[in-house]
Subunit: 488 residues, 2 copies
């Protein structure tokens, strides 16, 4: 029996009819086969039924749907590309909800050449916006694995990160304003694209990262950047994590903050990738204590200019920095991509890490962050703890941001279930707390980390979040049971 | 009779005694002479009495004071350097309040070399932090006229801007986290300094720019940047505002977003400065349609290297861009500072604009912003309106951010009072609305723009602000009557 079936039948029929009048009959699904793709998340871990799936065409329709749901007492689960890793975009079991998919709102409304901004709707796929902007000679720098299916609305709702955050920031930093429908059905029009606007509370940043619990983002205005004219991509074998951080800061100073990616990829991970994809080979000599995939980009003509040795200035400048760091012992070996193909090969090793870990064995992935000065401390302590408890570890991370994707693994899938994962998690979170770290750096909370949120978030912050949630959504209609753990 | 006198005397005495027990008797003032400097704002426009002025030593004392005030029904006006231009930091007439001055919280608690961050308390004067960081080889780039007396807490509470926003952002963008006391007296500890932390609503950005109405910021962690090794400072005579914006984008692309300041300063303003300070002379030829003071900075060694012609690379690169823009007709004349002295002279003209306007005559100053594409439209229309209504105009601005300090002026101070300022303001705000502009770009709302806020802010946004204010400060104890206009 579907949820629609469990509701009083005539009530459900009236409600669905009203949805159809708002969004058009073709854009309201109630059949299990039509709804299936919206009800189970990307990780297949979270799944629940819904009264209906509705695909509104614009903010006005979203507003009408919000008002309808308020009067009917039905919850709303906003959904973008359904690529969340935290179960934030699918319904909860036992709650009468609709999925409000933004997938029909795919317009790129306005490109502002002078202001270097673009206005795009929530359902635009990230990669589509990247291409649109690229064709116009600029770049939208947000990027990560799910770019071909995730949507801008989801990126905003979760404040998505990725590998370019070290230079351009998270989704939050790239967004200048929002159009959103608030829980009372009012439409917040914030698409002016202003760089400065000190007229009241920062509602934009409150909505960004609120995972659909405070309103539904329908469109946004984003900052654009010049495209790099030249890039240097290097795989570095560093003496230690702290040596890598020294290199990060030195290269940032010397290149005027031009590092576009600074990814941690140590030997066990390189080996796991080589094992899973035998065609891929790390080009570095010998075992790598601390591997770093670094990319530096520049839009400066002078950097793209080739000198007498056939190097452009950016390459020459980085070679000289690397030489200095080899002399100091911080860099042990370095490989610089000599072609787009070599660059793609280096990135391919990084991009296949997740699949390689999955091929390696059973795993639990942390998404954590630390002050840079504390990263090596965490790794040292936690690796010892993991070993003590019988786990192997495979850790990568956006080291430039202090963001680690730390994985506890076991090549023996059978043995995995006997390992003390709960204790390992508890000790990791305790260590993070001591070291001023965060238990969720970029994937958000959704359903998957509500218990950690309740246990570790400061009471003062939890109370303030609950008060804000009650104030803006007194009937707890917007994505209930997500992000904000209920008071005990 | 003082406010303390108007309260029931024994009650007031008990309250003040309790304040003294918390902060120490030396740090509680009730005598008019001791309180005077805290009760009148910098512009001398706003002044009111208070029950007491208290200078707590730390967040714990602030928390105790907040709880004491809650139980006593006394409002709290947090105050930093008291340099607000909007009357946000002094008490309201007829409201029993204390001024809670953060001036005793002056510690710089922690400098993190690896993470490029610094933790400083709310009462630290901006210039003090700049010097502290500078001595350690880095820069804290926030800067503006009041830097010698404004404090970091005030900068955060108002999301202060200034002339380097085009490169480094407002105070908001420079802050990674806060320590704050919320209206319930709880202490929000957010000083981890993480670059990524997706664990719930963005309370940091909600507090930043909330002008003391949602809590009291007691400390913050800030991002630091490398110091420029070389700078190019140029005064440019441009063909038009749109030509200036083309130049802005071209220089940003070619220098990898290295513009540190891009200030609009047209001929009438240059003339007003020359008139007020005859020792200063614009070095540009002929009348300047659109003057721009541009500064580009670079921390790159390659930029600081001098070539055979005696120019360093940054200068050479800018000369070549300027040449291109002279050929296209966008630049008519350009002067590049050849020494630190010449640079200081160029900046002096910009820094003396406000004084020059005050010397010129009576004036009303707008602090507005526009999408870059609409700046010239606004200026053209508004200058016509101003002339029609009998005003002259003297306009400067942080053009790189679309932020104009547009002044309606009259050399005849007597005639000023007969001019239709109300109508001019109404027409300016109407035009701003049409052009997606903001009526307060960087100075905030305080008391001075509450009426504009009520009239022009979207109802959906005002309602959300009021709901958040009620949720976090149900007794309206924190800086009441500021920023958030009461519902009608």
């Amino acid at each position: 029996v579907s949820q629609a079936g469990r509701l009083a039948e005539s009530f459900a029929a009236d409600f669905v009819d009203a949805l159809r009048r708002i969004a058009g009959a073709r854009h309201v699904f109630t059949e299990p086969a039509d709804m299936a793709g919206y009800l189970t998340d990307w990780t297949s871990q979270y799944s629940a039924d819904a009264v209906a799936v509705v695909r509104p065409a614009d903010a006005e329709q979203v507003s009408q749907i919000v008002k309808l749901c308020a009067s009917a007492g039905i919850s709303i689960v906003p959904q973008g590309g359904n690529t969340s890793l935290a179960g934030g975009g699918v319904p909860s079991k036992g709650v009468a909800s609709i999925v409000l998919s933004l997938s029909r709102m795919q317009a790129i409304r306005h490109f502002d050449e002078a202001g270097r901004t673009v206005v795009a709707e929530a359902g635009v796929v990230l990669e589509t916006l990247q291409s649109y902007v690229d064709e116009r000679g600029l770049q939208f720098p947000l990027t990560f694995g799910a770019k071909g299916s995730c949507t801008l609305g989801g990126n905003l709702a979760t404040n998505a990160g990725g590998s370019n955050v070290v230079r351009y920031g998270n989704t939050r930093e790239l967004c200048l304003g929002l159009e959103a429908v608030l829980p009372d059905g009012s439409i917040f029009n914030g698409l002016t694209g202003l760089r400065k606007d000190n007229t009241g509370y920062d509602l934009k940043d409150l909505l960004i990262g609120s995972e659909g619990t405070l309103g539904i983002i329908t469109a946004a205005v984003f900052k654009l950047y010049p495209k790099p004219l030249t890039r240097v991509t290097a795989l570095l074998s560093m003496a230690s994590v702290d040596a890598a951080i020294r290199a990060l800061n030195l290269v940032q100073d010397r290149t005027g903050h031009s590092i576009e990616a600074f990814e941690y990829i140590p030997q066990p991970v390189l080996s796991a990738v080589e094992k899973a994809f035998p065609v891929l080979k790390s080009p570095l000599q010998g075992p790598v204590e601390t591997g770093v995939l670094m990319e530096v980009g520049s839009s400066r003509l002078s950097d793209a200019k080739t000198d007498d040795d056939g190097f452009n200035q950016l390459v020459a400048e980085l070679l000289s920095i690397f030489e200095e760091l080899m002399e100091s012992g911080d860099i042990r070996d370095a490989v610089i991509a000599q072609s787009e193909q070599q660059r793609a090969d280096l990135w391919r090793m990084r991009e296949l890490v997740l699949e390689s870990i999955m091929a390696y064995g059973a795993a639990y992935h942390f998404d954590i962050s630390l002050p840079l000065a504390n990263v090596s401390w965490f790794l040292r302590e936690m690796d010892l703890t993991a070993a003590e408890l019988g786990f192997e570890t495979l850790t990568i991370g956006h080291l430039g941001d202090g963001n680690l994707h730390y994985a506890l693994v076991s090549a023996d899938r059978e043995a995995w279930h006997g390992l003390p994962l709960g204790e390992a998690k508890a000790r990791a979170f305790e260590l993070l707390k001591q070291l001023n770290g965060s238990f969720s750096a970029e994937h958000g909370i959704g359903q998957s980390k509500l218990d950690v949120m309740r246990a570790l978030k400061q009471p003062a912050q939890l109370n303030a979040m609950r008060a804000i949630k009650r104030a803006l959504d007194p009937d707890d209609m917007m994505n209930p049971g997500r992000l904000v753990p209920a008071a005990e």
